[in-house]
Amino acid sequence: MLELRAVSKTFNPGTPNELRALQAVNLTVDDGLFVVIIGTNGSGKSTLLNAVAGSFFVDSGSISLAAAEITNWPEHRRAKLIGRVFQNPFSGTAANMSIAENLALAAYRGKPRRLDWPLRKPLLGEMRERVSHLNMGLDDRLKNPIGSLSGGQRQALTLLMATWLRPELLLLDEHTAALDPKSADQVIALTDTIVRRHKLTTLMVTHSMHQAANLGDRLIMMHRGRVIQDFRGAEKKRIRVDDLVARFEEVRRAELLDESAAEMLRRVYI
């Protein structure tokens, strides 16, 4: 179970660029739940995932995962519990190293790196087996450098790497946004299969209303560093793309209202 209690994060505090990216966010995610996160640009979705992954420490609040209090754990320590796929296909893999070497790095996620041999026969066999399930024609290319692959292939491999050892939590931050539509569909289908098969607790950020409506067990909408909407269970199942678009429009209109109100206040008082 993932639990965030009153988590706040402000960037550039005390400067004119001060940005309250997370404002006392509370979030509890039960084991095995697939949560989709949507929200306007800059609403704090990536910041939320980064806070959980430990890319930075939060200003206040606490985070626990799988009964461990991880608020003060550094990123590499949290990686023992967390698998991650980034938006940028270049971020998740080491381009100059072979597919096999990248997978081997993932096969030791959270374990000490010693002077032993990573590319042993059984592991290589398992690699061929698991890579063939990707259906991306990578079966005979384990020795090729990852840099020679397409974005879609790299994201599929990153997904495989993130879940090679079953993570307590899978974090996906717009992991199909940089891909062409066909590869994006492929990677999404793969995501759904893997998450369902291993019953992974998952947070997935997306900008695709289609994905948001059709995937996951729970849907969270963020705005200005807060969770403003939370659809679960049957309610989530009922949601259609149109509902989401309408909800977004509502938020946008409220935003405009906010801004015109602020403008009016400024005119009156300054």
Binding site: E75, H76, T93, A95, M97, Y108, R113, L115, W117, P118
Partner: protein
């Protein structure tokens, strides 16, 4: 002939420098110039211990250990204290200058009277050949020269193989990945800061080892001897890359050794042809500069060409 042998031997010894620079600059993409200080540190430590009759193997190893510590220090400044990598290297290098002076007690010490790896090899060589000189294809060479060459060659082959094997292990793979993509490495549970610290330790250990060997080869250690080491090492690495490419770690290691030897041969030739030794560092720096900018310039030239047509 002994000029050639000397250049080859120096080339093999300096391969350790090239390998060290390869680790920091190429594997970690870390512009570490601690090398200028750590090479002299290795020489100073070994020389001081040799003068005090310490076993040469131990003294040489102490040189390696000293360099290793210096490298980890640079790594810690750069990671734990978030100091710019170049500056971290400069700080440690500058500090080492005083440290080296303290170790030696003055600006240089001679090891000519002490027993060193060179005197060991001399004895072994003489015992094996039963002569002080050898005749190789009509050339007269001393058994010392021959045994130094063979020993340095064997050592560098061993060091290169060890390094290759190391970078295939889990730890070595994690290190290579750290230089490639530190974001991914952290996400896979690797402490990238520790990898950098350890890697720079290894790099400077090798460089200090080169210093320790050089001190015994030339018979003295000098506090100034480290100046320009980084550039020499880079020159070797660049030559190696031109020879064998950068595709595989094994090739890169071989390339660095080949580059180092070729570089030493070029230097010996240039000096023989009358290059002023004082100009050596300037020429090397210009060479590295040219090697770094040429590909870029060629690219720009290619892309500029069609446009200048219209102008």
């Amino acid at each position: 002939m002994s000029l050639l042998l000397g250049a080859l031997t120096l080339g093999f010894i300096f391969s350790l420098l090239a390998l060290g620079v390869f680790i920091s600059f190429r594997i970690f993409a870390f512009p570490d110039i601690t090398a200028d200080g750590s090479s002299a540190l290795g020489a100073a430590l070994a020389a001081m211990l040799l003068v005090h009759h310490v076993n040469p193997v131990l003294a040489t190893f102490a040189g390696f250990a000293g360099g290793f510590l210096a490298g980890t220090l640079t790594g810690m400044l750069a990671t734990k204290f978030k100091i710019n990598g170049l500056l971290a290297g400069i700080l440690v290098m500058t500090g080492l200058y005083s440290v080296n002076l303290h170790i030696m007690g003055r600006s240089n010490i001679s090891v000519l009277g002490s027993s060193t790896l060179s005197t060991y090899l001399d004895r072994v060589g003489t015992a094996l050949t039963r002569h002080n000189t050898l005749n190789v294809m009509g050339w007269e060479i001393t058994s010392l020269e021959a045994s130094l060459l063979i020993a340095s060659f064997l050592f560098i082959v061993l060091a290169g193989c060890l390094m290759y094997v190391f970078f295939q292990t889990n730890l070595g793979t994690a290190m290579r990945a750290t230089g490639d993509n530190h974001e991914m490495v952290r996400a896979l549970g690797i402490n990238n800061e520790n990898m950098i610290i350890l890697g720079l330790g290894l790099s400077n250990g090798l460089i200090a080892l080169a210093g320790a060997f050089i001190a015994q080869y030339q018979g003295f250690a000098d506090v100034q001897m480290g100046i320009g080491m980084v550039v020499w090492g880079l020159a070797s690495v660049i030559i190696g890359e031109a020879l064998v490419g950068t595709k595989q770690i094994g090739l890169s290691i071989t390339g660095a050794v080949m580059g180092s030897v070729l570089f030493r041969l070029l230097v010996a030739m240039a000096l023989r042809l009358g290059l002023n030794p004082n100009d050596l560092k300037l020429v090397t720096a210009l060479f590295v500069f040219a090697a770094l900018v040429t590909p870029e310039l060629l690219n720009r030239f290619k892309t500029l060409k069609p446009r200048s047509f219209h102008a």
